[in-house]
């Protein structure tokens, strides 16, 4: 579920949130029935975009997320970006109940996420096994679009007259090129295979022949 962007930088997006409230059917004081439904809103200070949401689940079964844009007219609507997403494969059981989830932009139904001012999380837990449910530790992340130093330098060097890129005038015949490249490719392949297998399959249990163990412990002396 996580997309790795080694070359991009992440910004965390700040927000305010109100308490998670349970939803009821009918008059609040009269009903005893637990609808198993909770809702809360996130308010972004400045309207911003985001590319990733992560949170830690606490026994929530299904999650729905809606977003609202800032520059709203009077007929502004909530758009659904995640509809009843199953967080726990079996709502009566333990799996997925305490798991950390990451949602990236391409998992959402509606991927236009610029100028968002408000998010609404709707949590559902249909099972009667649990006392309480919710989600904790919500984080919003956005990719940093500012240009890095390398990109700026490249742009500048393209336009500058002092730095010239070398161009090949005469190429050697294709056959020769391909044989050279093939042996190079084989070498690179072998090299990556060697480095990929960094951890030993069956490591030795002793250290340089010493293995005098006197006590088991959990902390370093």
């Amino acid at each position: 579920m996580t997309e790795k962007h080694p070359s991009k930088q992440w910004l965390t997006v700040g927000f305010e949130t109100k308490n998670q409230i349970r939803l009821f059917i009918g008059e609040r004081s009269k009903t005893q029935f637990d609808s198993g439904c909770k809702m809360f809103d996130l308010f972004l200070k400045d309207p911003f975009r985001f590319d990733e949401i992560s949170f830690k689940n606490f026994y929530t079964g299904y999650l729905t997320i809606k977003v609202k844009e800032k520059y709203s007219n009077s007929d502004n609507e909530w758009r659904i970006i995640l509809k009843r997403f199953k967080l726990m494969p079996d709502v009566h059981g333990e799996s997925g109940a305490n798991q950390t989830f990451h949602f990236s932009k391409d998992m959402f139904l509606d991927q236009e996420l610029d100028n968002i001012s408000q998010l609404r999380f709707i949590l559902q837990q249909p099972s009667c096994n649990w006392k309480d449910f919710g989600i904790d530790d919500i984080k919003l992340k956005a990719v940093n679009m500012d240009q890095s130093i390398e990109a700026l330098f490249y742009e500048w060097s393209k336009r500058s007259d002092k730095i010239k890129m070398k161009s090949f005038e005469k190429l050697p015949p294709v056959q020769m090129l391909s044989t050279r490249l093939q042996s190079l490719w084989l070498l690179c392949n072998e090299a990556t295979k060697q480095t990929a297998n960094k951890t030993e399959d069956n490591p030795r249990f002793d250290i340089d022949g010493s293995y005098d163990v006197n006590l088991l412990s959990t902390n370093q002396p």
Partner: protein
């Protein structure tokens, strides 16, 4: 879930690649465009490609099991950590009481002596009285019964009548019936007495010979679901587990043997005691005493076993040592025992029945190791995996209650919790309680269906089978004596009874 990368470094892949290269260089009708299709067609049914498909299938199975249950609930991980700390304490206590180091290097003379008596290790055992097991199965049961989920609602808690009140998602009866469909009366099961020497049994044997020749994991599994015929059992088990001994494995086996000669562990004595008190006293398993010592001593030194723990985020017990012959004053961390596994009393009984199937010590060792890292390690860990011992206990109680609530209620009236009897059966996978031939039938099904769930189902089946006697009994001592002797029990008939 990356299946291809680990494959690239194996011997099977190297042979497969050589095969493909041979075909490519010998075929005249290959061009750049159709190379992929032509090569795939030609290599499809060869042995080398079969080995690759077997590896991928086994990798797929083990990784799908891991993914589903990779993150257990926080109270379960806490319980597992608590249990691990308890084991470490108990082990340290034994060590300080007896004043024997946990591990030390053997003298050269001692190592040579051990090498000499390697095939009769039973004679090496001296005074075993002072050793005691690090933990007993009843201690583990008590720890499991204390598990409590703080978020579990009171309503749900009060509706459980069994002892396990942990909400692990277990399969329903309908799901299990579907999963174990091949055990039903509709299919011919080999190994029942009345079937021996019958025409159908012989035909099944002929089919079995063909299945063994093809050497495909999936096919061997499907065939074994209705039981392995006795003569084919060893080949079928090694195909199902995808264990193939190569030169590298033989070298590793000898390395482990050398480790036994070089280092002396306290845990060796614990294993010795376990074999002497449990396996040797069993009239069906005492013959394998020497083999058991060999397997268990090498098993304790095998770091390959650590792999099954790291995927489950279980911490093996650690120790800190100073290097002997160097000026390095730092403390280095090592894992003790090297395989990271602390055995319970009766653990040697999980090895003994396999000796009936394999006589070659090397093949026996690798088969046992594979069965351990695929199935048996789950029998002593606490996690949300429905096949861990907690899940198996929950399945047993749920199954018995839903199948026969009257019987369950009757037992509860006598202040008897069925799980207390069934626990010792399940944790030893019924080894030592059943006739060996019947036990192997049960273990065929564990391997073929790739799940330990058959153990609690069979345990519930025994209760159902002895229902009449259990219902008419006045108190719980009689219950225990009725369920004490399982030597006359036939596995397949009881399983068919349960799923009928």
């Amino acid at each position: 879930m990356d299946l291809t990368n680990p494959l690239l470094n194996t011997q099977s892949y190297y042979e497969f690649l050589k095969n493909v290269q041979e075909i490519a260089s010998n075929s005249a009708d290959i061009s750049l465009i159709n190379m992929n299709d032509v090569l795939i067609n030609r290599i499809k049914n060869s042995t080398s490609s079969r080995k690759i498909t077997n590896l991928i299938f086994s990798g797929l199975e083990s990784s799908s099991n891991d993914e589903k249950n990779s993150l257990s609930g926080s109270y379960l991980t806490k319980a597992q950590t608590q249990w691990e700390k308890k084991l470490v304490k108990s082990f340290n206590l034994i060590c300080t009481e007896l004043n024997i180091p946990l591990a030390k290097k053997r003298s050269i003379v001692e190592g040579q002596e051990l090498k000499r008596i390697w095939n009769e290790l039973g004679t090496n055992v001296s005074d075993m009285k002072k050793f005691r097991p690090i933990f007993t199965t009843s201690e583990l049961l008590e720890h499991i019964l204390m598990l409590k989920c703080s978020n579990f609602s009171d309503l749900a808690l009060s509706s459980t009548t069994g002892l396990i009140n942990v909400p692990i998602s277990i399969k329903s009866f309908a799901e299990l019936k579907r999963q174990y469909e091949r055990i039903s009366l509709d299919f011919f099961q080999s190994g029942l007495d009345e079937n021996l020497n019958s025409v159908i049994e012989q035909e099944k044997h002929k089919n079995g010979v063909k299945v063994v020749e093809i050497n495909d994991v999936v096919l061997s599994k499907e065939f074994s679901k209705t039981g392995c015929t006795r003569s084919l059992r060893s080949k079928l088990w090694s195909q199902i587990l995808n264990v193939d001994i190569g030169n590298l494995d033989a070298v590793y086996y000898n390395y482990l043997k050398q480790c036994v000669f070089e280092f002396d562990f306290l845990i060796d004595s614990i294993y010795y005691k376990d074999v002497k008190t449990k396996a040797v006293n069993d009239d069906q398993l005492f013959v394998f005493e020497d083999l058991l010592y060999q397997v268990l001593l090498m098993f304790a030194r095998d770091t390959h076993v650590l792999k099954c723990f790291e995927q489950k985020s279980i911490q093996p017990p650690k120790a800190f040592i100073k290097l002997k012959n160097s000026s390095d004053l730092k403390y280095h961390q090592v894992i003790y025992p090297p395989n990271g596994f602390i055995p319970f009393d009766g653990f040697s009984m999980l090895v003994a029945p396999i000796c009936y199937v394999y006589s070659d010590p090397m093949l026996l060792y690798f088969i046992f190791r594979k069965i351990f890292i695929t199935h048996f390690y789950k029998l002593s860990i606490i996690s949300s995996d429905p096949q861990s011992i907690v899940g198996l206990c929950a399945l047993f109680e749920n199954f018995l209650q839903s199948k026969d609530p009257k019987l369950f209620f009757q037992l509860r009236k006598m202040d008897m919790q069925p799980i207390r009897i069934a626990f010792k059966w399940i944790i030893r996978a019924f080894s030592g309680y059943l006739q060996s031939a019947q036990l192997l039938e049960l273990w065929d099904r564990i391997l073929a269906f790739n799940s330990l769930e058959i153990l609690p189902i069979f345990a519930a089946g025994i209760f159902l089978y002895r229902r009449q006697s259990l219902m008419s009994v006045p108190n719980k001592l009689h219950v225990e004596s009725i369920l004490d002797d399982l030597k006359s029990v036939k596995v397949v008939t009881i399983l068919q009874l349960v799923f009928a």
